[in-house]
Assembly symmetry: C2
Homo-oligomer: 305 residues x 2
């Protein structure tokens, strides 16, 4: 199996994970979590979303949080925006990366962003222009890239059209998001085969949810195609607002364990990430979906092979 020599992990737990929890962490608690992730070696962390504070109370402190972050060049902090207002808010902060996100599936787009896919795509141009004009790097993500309600919903052409537009408008990175956890190795391969030529030299990442347990199987398929950018969430924190009982993103420490066992160096300390997950499971008072964090540190072994 050929694998990429290095892996870029974007930790999305503080955004995609925390937004699903009933208990809203304080800004101070979030800052402590983010500091813990940074000192475990994570260099790309998504910390906030500029969305409606009443719809997503856990993200209401986006400005305050970013204002209090110890920003420096080594840390690629990002925040999510789903519309122009979100980008406006983001550009008033010092966040260096803005994620501009739209959905490939019309019903999902209307439900999640209140816009048709056509309108969302049209709006992405000004969103990118504004972010780039403000000197920010842009992660452009395509939600529901692998389907919305069933795997048959997958629309490679729609994803390709969106990818072209986002690249053309200056995105620094493309992210294909499996929002409802419908990806499987064959669709991962077909989608990446279609999108990679469009992306050219722009890195393509995957944002995978483990809703149906295939998260790391999909990572394996993507690694074989040379993909080296993955979004993960500590402890697999998160879920899906559209699917009751759904697991969250693939767990950071479980993905790291896979990478280490495949001989890929990540520079990230799995034990420290696992310790943060264990703490969050106590704070939220329920088990998180990940596996590694449940084990005592003595059962962890990270030497490759």
């Amino acid at each position: 199996m050929r694998v990429p020599p290095t892996i870029h992990i974007t930790e999305v737990g503080p955004r995609d994970g925390l937004q699903m929890e009933l208990r809203v962490l304080s800004t101070a608690e979030k800052l402590e979590l983010i500091a813990g992730l940074a000192s475990a070696g994570l260099r790309e962390i998504q910390v906030a979303a500029f969305v409606h504070p009443e719809k997503v109370p856990a993200m209401a402190d986006a400005e305050a949080l970013i204002g209090a972050l110890p920003l420096h060049d080594q840390m690629h902090y990002s925040a999510l925006a789903l519309n122009l207002q979100g980008v406006v808010r983001a550009c008033r902060t010092a966040i260096p990366w803005i994620e501009i996100s739209l959905s490939a599936h019309d019903a999902h787009s209307r439900r999640n962003a209140g816009l048709s896919t056509t309108d969302a795509l049209a709006q992405s141009g000004p969103m990118l222009a504004m972010a780039i004009g403000a000197g920010r790097k842009v992660r452009a993500s395509i939600q529901c890239a692998f389907g919305y309600e069933t795997p048959e919903d997958v629309d490679i052409d729609a994803v390709a059209v969106a990818a072209s537009r986002l690249v053309e408008k200056g995105a620094d990175r493309l992210v294909l998001a499996d929002t409802t956890g419908l990806a499987a190795p064959p669709t991962v391969r077909r989608m990446l085969a279609a999108v990679a030529p469009i992306a050219g030299s722009i890195p393509v990442g995957l944002h995978l949810h483990d809703t149906r347990g295939l998260g790391l199987a999909n990572v394996m398929a993507a690694l074989e195609l040379g993909i080296s950018h993955f979004d993960t969430s500590l402890g697999g924190l998160g879920g899906c607002p559209f699917i009751e009982g759904a697991a969250g993103n693939i767990a950071t420490e479980d993905a790291l364990y896979l990478f280490h066992r495949l001989g890929i160096a990540t520079g990230i300390d799995i034990s420290r990430v696992a310790a943060l997950s264990r703490r969050l499971a106590r704070v939220f008072n329920h088990p998180l979906p990940g596996k590694i964090y449940r084990l005592a540190a003595t059962h962890l072994d990270f030497r490759p092979r």
Copy 2:
């Protein structure tokens, strides 16, 4: 990706899963569970272990359970034995398949079976002879084939020696067990490359635990090598007596979902397996490690892609 055209699943939940639960199911409850699994389409089910009833109270009713099973040629029921006394007990019942199991790792063998690996291997000859003499088919399994406490414990030569002996003595199937969940795709490949030539025409199966989240990634690696026999447990029920907090076997319905999405027909109804897992999660009053069973049936989609 080349995959085998068909898959043989051995459902081990009623043995490997139930033995880890504090609440012991009654024989009637077990029979209902096994009947449910059979009507979901599972044809190979491990139903009991002939082990010390005080050590494993959940398996104390092995004889009564097997006596009450609706045995017929279409169903390959099996029971586990770790020593000669176990095989003697099994042969007094009508169980058609006996699993004869030994460990590749000395410390684990002494802890789990009270025997050195040398003594366990010596004993496996008479165990196989007795089972075969009684007209039974034999699954011969090698525990800790992928390590015991760390992945460095893996001993390909020891596994190969055990595999040769078990094949020579007439095993109908070899099963490599990742008892403590230490397998990773590279070790799966290396181990199968060593064992497949020894097994020759005898099928080699994998018994994988999802302790560190790599269960289905390991399945992917094995499928690519043509392996088509897998042990799974409904809901991922189970754990490991040596690792607190460990997840159980790979979940039957999650593995089935992967196989269906890879276009491999299994003849097994995922929704019915998931419904049984949901019921068990209520009976045991804790979530099981699997993912699929948590979803409402409307979020399941099994059409192959």
